[in-house]
């Protein structure tokens, strides 16, 4: 926090050429579906931007989102940008600990009031005692930090929609960020974990244009969550032709056929895994032979088995249908016997009348 250099100065000091920087701006603009005319604007803006204060609050999370963001095989520009933003508070990455860490957070919030970006990771238990940091419950920390933030980015499915902690039976009464904060702009970047490029793309968009990117109905940036995995999957021709792998080691699996019958949730999962992919574009789950689990969708943990296809319902109907059958048989037989007895009575009455 001592140096107040611009991003341009920092990159130059790290030996990043102007050409490489412009290539990054072009790639990011194109991934965010921004027009090409914005590339010089983005380059200028990023060049000039001073270290924005970012506070990363880690609540009921597994640190997977941080791992995804910071794990790279080689230093990348994304990582440099990430190092550039003044990450004033982050449990896994900061040097300080204990009271010094909390003091850093409070100081950053005070100095940058109204301007800092709040990144929230992990769900928030509404029963406060389940998760605390330095004696402060997650709920209180969020409600204290949110009012003075410029915007809130909910990183990962846990922060965006509740994720794993909220899955049945939700023992900690966990909720998502948007369940608690209603008066701040919130971007959800779901995924378990989210694609790192989604994070840095949203940050770059915010730093350049000062606004949040276009979001869908679930608060996700359309640039990364506008299409389903199914729409971009390279195995789609096999789905269309009805060629499916039935087990993980059969002929279909070896030939790379569609994984629909092995539980792939690609048709209902909105994310960029199928085109942006993971590990700088090396692969993604389906390419590695495992169906999509739909980890960017709300409540995906409770949506049925990971290896059960979308067509299989979610019900324990077997015994209940048996009971239903017996109830129906009882009602039907009862109705028919009633009709018979009425008929016999009418016949007897007719005979008696004669």
């Amino acid at each position: 926090m001592a140096h107040n250099s611009t991003l341009g100065e920092l990159l130059r000091s790290q030996g990043v050429s102007r050409r490489a920087f412009l290539k990054f701006c072009t790639t990011t603009a194109s991934v965010m579906a921004l027009p090409a005319t914005l590339v010089p604007v983005m380059a200028d803006a990023l060049e000039q931007v001073r270290r924005p204060s970012v506070i990363w609050l880690s609540f009921q999370e597994c640190t997977g989102c941080t791992e995804a963001l910071t794990r790279s095989h080689a230093p990348t520009l994304e990582n440099l940008i990430f190092n550039f933003i003044s990450l004033d508070y982050h449990h896994a990455l900061q040097a300080a600990s204990g009271r010094a860490a909390e003091a850093a957070r409070e100081e950053a919030m005070r100095e940058n009031a109204g301007k800092y970006l709040l990144l929230v990771d992990g769900s928030i238990p509404t029963v406060k005692a389940y998760s605390t940091i330095a004696g402060i419950s997650n709920l209180d920390m969020l409600m204290d930090s949110a009012p003075n933030a410029a915007a809130i980015i909910a990183v990962g499915t846990c922060a965006a929609y509740g994720g794993l902690p909220m899955a049945a039976p939700n023992p900690t009464s966990a909720v998502s960020v948007s369940d608690l904060i209603k008066d701040k702009p919130i971007i959800n970047i779901p995924g378990c974990p989210p694609i790192p490029l989604a994070m840095t793309g949203v940050l770059a968009h915010y730093l350049t244009l000062g606004t949040l990117p276009a979001l869908d109905a679930l608060g996700r940036p359309l640039a990364f969550y506008g299409d389903t995995i199914h729409d971009r999957c390279y195995r789609r021709p096999f789905y269309d032709r009805g060629l499916f792998a039935k087990t993980f080691d059969d002929e279909g699996a070896r030939k790379g056929w569609c994984l629909y019958k092995l539980g792939c949730k690609g048709p209902v999962a909105y994310n960029a895994c199928a085109n942006v992919k993971w590990n700088q574009g090396v692969s993604f789950p389906i390419q590695s032979g495992h169906g999509c689990i739909g980890c960017c969708e709300p409540g995906f943990w409770d949506n049925g088995g990971i290896y059960e296809s979308i067509a299989r319902g979610q019900f324990g109907t077997g015994p209940q249908m048996g009971v239903a059958g017996m109830v129906g048989a009882g009602v039907g037989a009862g109705a028919a016997l009633l009709a018979r007895s009425k008929k016999e009575r009418a016949a007897a009455a007719h005979r008696a009348a004669e």
Binding site: T228, H230, D231, Y239, D240, R241, G242, F244, Y260, K261, P267, V268, P298, G299, N303, G304, E308, S309, I310, A311, R312, G313, Q314, F315, T317, G318, Q320, M321, A324, G325, V327, G328, A329, V331, G332, A333, A335, A336, L337, A339, R340, K343
Partner: protein
């Protein structure tokens, strides 16, 4: 819980229960009724066999009616067979039945499923056209029209969902499942029960006519 989870979960759960309970109720409710013995001398010694044979011999209109009924009989057969092939031949439907019963069988290629589904829909539209244009032959009531809509909607929404037309896929799929659930709930309490009853009503006619010595 979003629409798809709702449709795949409690809605289809209760629709199946109502379908099973209602169908057995309506079936037994008719079968357990008495028919009144025909006390006259049977004119035909093999009456029972002739009765069961009627189930099959009535599958096509008899000679003198063939010309007048040929069009609608062919259309109806196209519709029924195409719908059956679609319901038991398409991969997601087989997956659903497997999750209920454990049985599975090879599926048709998707393109064939789409073609057969289209044939089913077109023949269904031809049939409603005929019903609407000939009110004196078809004295239709509201139930007939509701039945047509509830049978057509799963066909239409299924085709739309597979083609990824209309609403977003998960919404279209949810609507498809909801329309199927509506069909299941309507099924036992409407004329659609003919799918089970026709066997017994044909046999009944065959038995009583054969008793009288009439061959049909």
């Amino acid at each position: 819980m979003n629409l798809l989870e709702f449709a795949r979960g409690p809605v289809i759960h209760w629709a199946l229960i109502i379908l099973v309970a209602g169908t057995i109720w309506r079936l037994l409710g008719v079968l357990i009724l008495t028919r009144g013995a025909d006390l006259s001398r049977p004119r035909d010694a093999f009456g029972n066999f002739k009765g069961y044979r009627t189930v099959f011999s009535r599958a096509w209109p008899s000679g003198e009616f063939t010309v007048a009924t040929r069009y609608q009989t062919i259309m109806a057969y196209f519709f029924h067979f195409a719908t059956l092939i679609v319901v038991i031949g398409i991969t997601p439907h087989i997956e659903f039945i497997t999750s209920l019963t454990g049985y599975s069988w090879p599926a048709l290629p998707n393109a064939v499923g789409v073609a057969v589904g289209t044939i089913a829909l077109v023949s269904l539209i031809a049939l409603i056209g005929r019903r609407l244009s000939m009110p004196k032959i078809y004295c239709s009531n509201i139930g007939d029209y509701v039945t047509w809509v509830l049978v057509a909607t799963p066909l239409i929404t299924g085709l739309l969902a597979f083609a990824h037309l209309g609403a977003r896929y998960e919404t279209m799929l949810a609507i498809h499942i909801l329309s199927v659930a509506a069909l299941f709930v309507w099924f036992p309490f409407s004329k659609l029960m003919h799918s089970f009853w026709f066997i017994f009503s044909r046999a009944q006619s065959g038995l009583s006519y054969a008793h009288k010595g009439v061959r049909i």
